[in-house]
Symmetry: C2
Subunit: 140 residues, 2 copies
DNA sequence: ATAATTGCAAATTTTTTGCAGGTTC
DNA sequence: GAACCTGCAAAAAATTTGCAATTAT
């Protein structure tokens, strides 16, 4: 369980209860859309407004506390900023799972960028398909 | 220049002038957001409504004529469905450029999916950074 | 103390929908 | 001719904003 107060302060943001709650929800869910964040935040802080969720997602992404994960055909999800990784995205249930991004992909994409004189700052590798759980459900 | 009438019919869609115009715009721009599509479509078909753009993007994505390219911090763009490739996305100007997705990435991501019993259906590899053009502008 | 943040309500922006008239096959 | 498609206007959904009151440092 992360010390969110420290994370926020180190990014120049005040450690409000609202932000801590939002971050705790995202950490618990791993990846969450605005709706999912709001819904879950209400459980422990019923007066937190949707506008506050929006404002904070914007500022925390700006400050690098959160990362947006845009997804084909769905609303973006947000995750805590962490080491680089890739995503398995289930097109059935919408779940997002992290996997290690290995050296093969890093090196290869770096070369591709270099060959195009492109100053690479970040990568997003999303694999779309059906997760084990949904595949089993479909088989029954 | 693609024969869009054939493409549409082969996907069970009627070849209307509106759809042809939308597809022509997307082909010309390579990648375009709803706004960019609408804006450009008006040049040759000033009465085409925004609602029609929306409806057609939805159905053409559903039918596999178009592909959505979701982008961090911006609105999604759409491209013609074509062979698999990756994207260089400029965080300055928003331009999107295609590059070949080589066998290294394909094989590696397939292995990652297999190891997680994930039924891989599609990949999205987006490299974020600054394009050559914007880098030169910044240097001056 | 002060500068940032919240919550509310209102405004804006984005996307979807219903339906009458028009078009494609 | 039948089914599909368009455009309009209206509705719904998503996001942003202004501001007075509150809170963190």
């Amino acid at each position: 369980m992360t010390n969110f107060a420290e994370v926020l302060k180190s990014h120049g943001l005040k450690a409000t209860f609202q932000r801590m709650t939002i971050l705790a929800v995202i950490e618990e869910l791993g990846h969450a859309s605005i709706d999912e964040i709001y819904e879950n935040v209400l459980k422990t802080h019923p007066t937190l407004s949707l506008a506050t969720v929006y404002k904070n997602i914007v500022t925390m992404v700006e400050q690098g506390v959160l990362v947006e994960v845009p997804i084909s055909g769905r609303k973006s999800k947000y995750e805590l900023k962490k080491h680089e990784h890739l995503h398995l995205i289930c097109t059935e249930c919408g779940s997002v799972t992290d996997r290690q991004m290995d050296e093969i992909i890093s090196a290869d994409t770096e070369k591709i960028a270099r060959d195009s004189a492109f100053r690479l700052h970040g990568r997003q590798v999303n694999l779309y398909g059906v997760c084990e759980h949904c595949a089993q459900k479909a088989a029954s």
